[in-house]
Symmetry: C2
Subunit: 317 residues, 2 copies
């Protein structure tokens, strides 16, 4: 079990230590990379020695945030620090072991694997906590720190669109913009621009989308043929499961992805009309009431038929 | 020419008057409807008589904001007020005449048609100015006002995505959320949900998009066939010209819309590599350096050829 720290206690702990090695989570997103790299720069601004643990899964989208922050030759870690990392099952690929001295996180589900934990589950993004910590430490944010924290805060909220956004999230954004964050450029890069192949794939998905049950259920297909035709790779498949949810009047959306001939993975999202987890359980899957998943060994067409029948059966009249 | 007012002077003027008739602009968007309807509620909270001038072009998306705010039988206007309305060419359909006593606006290009003008061109949305005015007037925002101002601020910034967003915009959003705005529901309704026909249309547009000049130029087509096939109506065509701009690596995007057989309207957007206004001028159109338009009397295919040739000719090497 972790010792729970306040922001002030966490700042005191940081002041008392040196030689920080900062760890982001596996399959890294903007919040973990932005928060970890900003924390590294904040510690360096305090005169500390700090570097990032290499995370081989960082994509090109976030690669520039970690440039120059690798451990130098001969670096010996004294304070292993995890950022936005909820459980040891989320440690990055290639993690070489070692006790985590400090974890900074916003996941209420944090498994308390670290010796010390600064946890703020009310925050939409871990970047908001790192910002608060920088203020507590008396470090004036520069543009590089502000860029990384803006990326953290904006990506975890879908650019302030998702329901996890709070008034504090907006206040954090204002503070980061005041500190010089290039939010205009970051917004274009993080939220607007996609590869031509991704756009082609979206076109095929939208064209093939189907509605059932008087439009209350929408099913999107992502087939092997579509992947081939669009030229899309796994890199182009971020958040495809959210596209079907755009349809007005539809409160339940499924995305059926053909992973191999005869094998489909299904992602189901719903509101209060139907319990996604119950539906997916019928096919050996599971999840949460509003977002769940399962797999079926059949073609996409058949998967849709079976799934829609199960959804209608579970529908709360 | 208008007398320019500060926020304080505008508040004093409002206190001195009564019987407000508030006008939104033609082809109304979220900022003009949200700002006008919020101002109406703010004035009523002060004990004033205030109502909205009917605007027949208000779409279903914003209709509920104006419910119950129509002029009652026998209402006599004393203070005609325009909100987010830059020029008299933008007066709403059915405008019956009368001198505009007060205009509240954020368009730097405001033509000064009103007797008094509160102008803040540095604001991303007119809703931010109305919020400042409410604070100056000492009116505590309720949920209804906050919803409308949140809609105003968020729609004019594309949910805090566009470059016009400022730190102050985020501070306004935080204040509106604190005042009870249902930002989660509004975000879903305003930014996420679209009609099935719109999604179908997007699918067809993405599938038919073409790239030229080593991917630096993207052309999107919206043909009469696509409109027919998708079942989309004019209501589904908001902001179609922005779709082509999503392509990574492309700094110039054109949208060619077939309005009738043999007639195309073209919307061109670019960054610094090419001047959109100069390109469109070659075809008798015009606009701004980064966003311009023109028309061509030919089929979409031919329009694309002629346009791309002109873009390449104008390209700054």
């Amino acid at each position: 079990m972790s010792e729970l720290l306040t922001v002030r206690e966490c700042a005191d702990f940081i002041r008392s230590r040196d030689n920080f090695l900062i760890m982001s989570h596996c399959r890294p997103d903007g919040d973990t990379v932005g928060s970890a790299s900003a924390l590294c720069l904040i510690l360096r601004a305090m005169g500390k020695t700090a570097c990032l643990m290499p995370n081989p899964e960082i994509t090109s989208r976030y690669a520039r945030f970690v440039e120059g922050l690798e451990p130098p030759e001969g670096f010996v870690c004294e304070t292993l620090t995890a950022v936005d990392l909820a459980a040891d099952t989320m440690f990055p690929v290639g993690f070489a072991g070692g006790e985590v001295e400090l974890c900074i996180d916003h996941h209420g589900s944090n498994s308390r694997y670290a010796k010390r934990l600064l946890l703020k589950p009310e925050k939409a993004a871990c970047g908001e906590i790192v910002l608060e910590l920088a203020n507590e430490l008396g470090v004036k944010l520069d543009k590089e720190m502000a860029d990384r924290l803006y990326a953290a805060v904006s990506t975890d909220t879908g650019c302030f669109l998702y329901r996890n956004t709070t008034a504090d999230t907006h206040r954090a954004a204002a503070e980061l913009i005041d500190a010089g964050a290039d939010y205009g450029g970051l917004n274009v890069r993080l939220f607007r621009k996609v590869s031509p192949a991704r756009l082609k794939l979206e076109g095929l998905i939208y064209s093939a989308m189907r509605q059932y049950f008087d439009g209350r259920v929408t099913v999107a297909f992502v087939t092997l043929d579509m992947m081939r035709e669009s030229g899309a790779t796994e890199n182009d498949c971020d958040d495809l499961a959210s596209l079907a949810g755009r349809v007005e009047g539809s409160s339940c959306s499924a995305t059926i992805r053909e992973k191999a001939p005869g094998l489909c993975k299904i992602s189901l999202r719903s509101s209060f009309d139907v319990n996604s987890s119950d539906v997916c359980a019928k096919f050996g899957g599971g999840g949460h009431p509003m977002a769940a998943g399962c797999a079926m060994s059949c073609a996409p067409e058949e998967a849709a038929e079976r799934l829609v029948a199960a959804i209608i059966e579970e529908w709360k009249h």
